[in-house]
């Protein structure tokens, strides 16, 4: 057990939260995107987390877990319909399929991701300070 395990654990969380933030920014950027290479409007992507054992660090009954993004899934909700016959992606009935993304939801999710990122950065800072204090012993 060393203080560097803390760095591994918190770094895994920083990475996971960064991926989450990237996904949110992709959702926000494509809130009005009506056509994609796969066809149809952009679909909201969601990030799912799961625990991950820290490799080579099976101490303490391997109860020390990092976190990893297990999958990024596309939302299966129906697209939002908007009446706009002049739109190039409009269907024959004049309705355009818009991505079903709630900007409000994305914003709160973004705040949550930012706070989690900050919390983990604080843990790293704290562990670093502890390690430096230990180096001061005998000085």
């Amino acid at each position: 057990m060393d203080i560097f395990t803390t760095f591994d654990v918190s770094a895994s969380a920083l990475k996971a939260q960064r991926i989450r933030l990237n996904t949110i920014s992709s959702n926000m950027a494509n809130v009005e995107t009506t056509s994609t290479p796969e066809g149809g409007p952009y679909k909201k992507k969601s990030v799912y987390f799961r625990t991950q054992a820290i490799p080579f660090k099976e101490q303490l009954d391997s109860s020390i877990k990092g976190v990893v993004v297990s999958e990024i899934l596309e939302d299966q909700e129906e697209p939002r319909k908007k009446f706009d016959p002049s739109h190039p992606d409009a269907a024959e009935d004049g309705y355009v399929s818009m991505p079903n993304i709630s900007v409000l939801k994305e914003m709160t999710d973004m705040m949550s991701a930012t706070r989690s990122y900050e919390a983990n950065a604080t843990v790293i800072k704290s562990a670093k300070r502890m390690a430096l204090k230990a180096l001061e012993i005998g000085r």
Partner: protein
């Protein structure tokens, strides 16, 4: 084993506490890292009671009257390893994650402060040794 001198005993205790606090830091880091992981159980690293019973011999400590007796509680500070206890989410709402980040942050700063206090004590202890070596100069 030869009984240790009080001076060494304190040093040994302080070293052990540093080790245990470093382990505790990792457990707290694991909780904060998984604060968004569904159905993650909060973990707690418990060693304080074990440490206390090792120091005082009580409560709960069985006396060993024979050299071949095995003590149920750690009689020596070196035998303390602490244990990790999991706590399930009892609220039944949300994603069954029992981590509360604010509580963990509090535990984090508490652990950090106590670690720093222990390093200070160790430093002072070594300072005293240095003072004695230099003949009080």
């Amino acid at each position: 084993m030869k009984r240790l001198e009080p001076f060494n005993q304190t040093m040994q205790l302080l070293q052990k506490v540093l080790d245990l606090r470093a382990a505790n830091q990792t457990v707290i880091a694991s909780n904060i890292a998984n604060s968004d992981t569904p159905s993650y159980n909060r973990r707690e690293f418990q060693f304080e009671n074990e440490l206390q019973s090792a120091l005082t011999g009580a409560p709960g400590a069985l006396q060993t009257t024979h050299a071949k007796h095995i003590s149920l509680t750690a009689g020596n500070v070196n035998d303390i390893h602490g244990k990790v206890v999991e706590f399930k989410d009892e609220t039944g709402i949300g994603d069954e994650n029992s981590v509360s980040v604010d509580m963990e942050m509090m535990a984090l700063s508490e652990n950090q402060l106590l670690y720093e206090a222990t390093t200070q004590l160790l430093k002072k202890k070594l300072g005293m040794l240095e003072y004695a070596i230099s003949g009080g100069k």
